[in-house]
Amino acid sequence: MAEAETPVAPEKPAPVRVYRHRLPARIWHWVNAVTLLILLMSGLMIFNAHPRLYWGEYGANFDRAWLVIGSTPDSGYLRVGDYRVDTTGVLGRWTDAEGAEKTWAFPGWATIPTSYSLADGRRWHLLFAWVLSIGLTLYMVWTLLSGHLRKDLHVRRAEWSPRHIWHDMKEHARLRFPRGQAAARYGILQKLSYIGVIFILLPLMIATGLTMSPGMNAAWPWLLDIFGGRQSARSIHFIAAWALVLFVLVHIAMVLLAGPVNELRSMVTGWFRLPPEREERA
């Protein structure tokens, strides 16, 4: 490093752009972003009408609930099984924008509408359930017909190896994301997450939602057998909703860590700039 010659800055190679997301995927992504938020917030409103969850076919106030969000005269709490945690200010007892103390389970900022209305929560929820169901069905057909499933989401044999999965987990934990051509493809953890959401979690939400419908119970009584009764279906619906929330939070965190501008642009225009390969250092 002792040469006296003027150092020449290495020429920055032009970024390589790849067309990563096709139009149906982009449309479905943004429709879902809005739909899932509305379904979550209106769902929390519906939950507020009876903030207790049960296992089995029946369950009401005098029956044993496995999850309760409740209030005492001066606090709010969440009870799961025998484990109880104080949640004053957030769940069970909180203060609304006008400073009034409320004892609904989920606070107004988390629900649609803000003030208690089971009727309106249901209207939003049961309309956007259609948007979710129709969108998911169309998207599933598209992933099959377009080859998206086979080419991009299909997990290859080599990817199933525990070594490979462990390696990808370590790389994620170190925030070392794929660069170069590798960034144009999904990693194993991404594939498993997307497959899990598209083919397991979202269909589970729709199926457990339908299981709560007394009309659908008459048409398809086997739904009750699959989920172990209407109240079990309601509990699974609630748990799966939070699994989706977890997915979205991790998804957003990964977008922020991997480069939010490039990632967001690719989900709007379809075009993704491949991050250049790391320079090898001796």
């Binding site: 519906i46 939950f47 009408a49 009876h50 207790r52 076919e57 029946y58 369950g59 009401a60 106030n61 005098f62 029956d63 924008a97 107004g108 900022w109 649609i112 509408p113 803000t114 003030s115 208690y116 209305s117 089971l118 009727a119 309106d120 249901r122 209207r123 939003w124 049961l126 309309l127 956007f128 359930a129 259609w130 339908l210 709560m212 419908s213 007394p214 009309g215 659908m216 119970n217 008459a218 048409a219 009584p221 009750l224 209407r230 109240q231 309601r234």
Partner: protein, 259 residues
């Protein structure tokens, strides 16, 4: 269904609807203004129509709600809504064991009826153990006994023009007596009964004594309690505010409550 909610929505909707959303309101009230805007209400109500149309297409008109065994009964069947109708008239009926209770079957019928509880118990009976689903989310399983509504309607000779059956109740909630309605598909469904017994005993007051509707493929608020009149009509326009039920007219619950 135990809450009485003031029609704040109507007030806000009249005060400006969507325009309010564009105003300087904080974000959350902005969201609520969207919720309250007439155009949005119209779009939201499409969901109910889609649910009604799809369920009517998908569900066989005689498809039965699941029936359970006595081992499945809820230890305690939770009452909801009115637990004791107010007023001297109802109290007098309770004192006489509902001996003078009358259920009038009127409207578009060939032979208007005035049935006593003895008449109702003398009809062919159906007993069913079914799950009751409240719109709030809870469920309770109970055993119900009573005549099929279809038998009562047949006895009265319902005319072909009748499209809905309206149920009038003796319990006053806020400003009006409770009322509900259903279409002829549910009215003639084999499990739609006028129940006078719960779990093998005479119907308790809290659960709707002396007579309540069971309409097993819909949510709890459709199951009118304290029924004293059954009316066949061609349209719901003249019933309450025209949406077919007490809560439907007041807080916009869906008239079709199959989901």
């Amino acid at each position: 269904m135990s809450e009485i909610i003031l029609p704040r929505r109507q007030l806000i909707a009249r005060a400006g609807g969507l325009a309010a959303a564009a105003g300087a309101l904080p974000l959350l009230s902005g969201c609520d203004a969207i919720n309250d805007a007439p155009a949005v209400r119209k779009i939201l109500s499409m969901g109910e129509e889609m649910n009604r149309a799809s369920q009517r297409a998908l569900i066989d008109r005689n498809a039965l709600a699941r029936e359970f065994s006595r081992a499945d009964l809820s230890p305690y069947f939770r009452p909801n809504g009115t637990r004791l109708p107010a007023g001297a008239a109802y109290a007098a009926h309770v004192a006489r064991g509902f001996a003078d209770w009358r259920v009038n079957v009127t409207g578009l019928v060939a032979r208007p009826l005035s049935l006593s509880m003895t008449d109702i118990r003398a009809m062919p009976q159906r007993t069913q153990i079914t799950r009751h689903d409240c719109v709030e989310g809870w469920s309770a399983i109970g055993q119900w006994t009573g005549p099929q509504l279809s038998d009562i309607l047949a006895a009265a000779g319902v005319k072909d023009r009748a499209r809905y059956i309206v149920f009038r109740c003796a319990d006053r909630l806020g400003d009006a007596l409770y009322y509900e309605s259903c279409d002829m598909v549910d009215a003639l469904h084999p499990q739609t009964i006028m129940a006078w017994a719960l779990n093998g005993a005479v119907l308790p007051i809290a659960n709707g004594a002396p007579l309540r509707l069971r309409i097993e493929r819909q949510l709890g608020y459709k199951h009118a309690k304290y029924v004293n009149a059954i009316e066949a009509v061609a349209s719901l326009d003249q019933i309450g505010a025209g949406k077919g039920g007490y809560w439907e007219d007041r807080i916009d619950y869906e008239w079709y409550a199959g989901i």
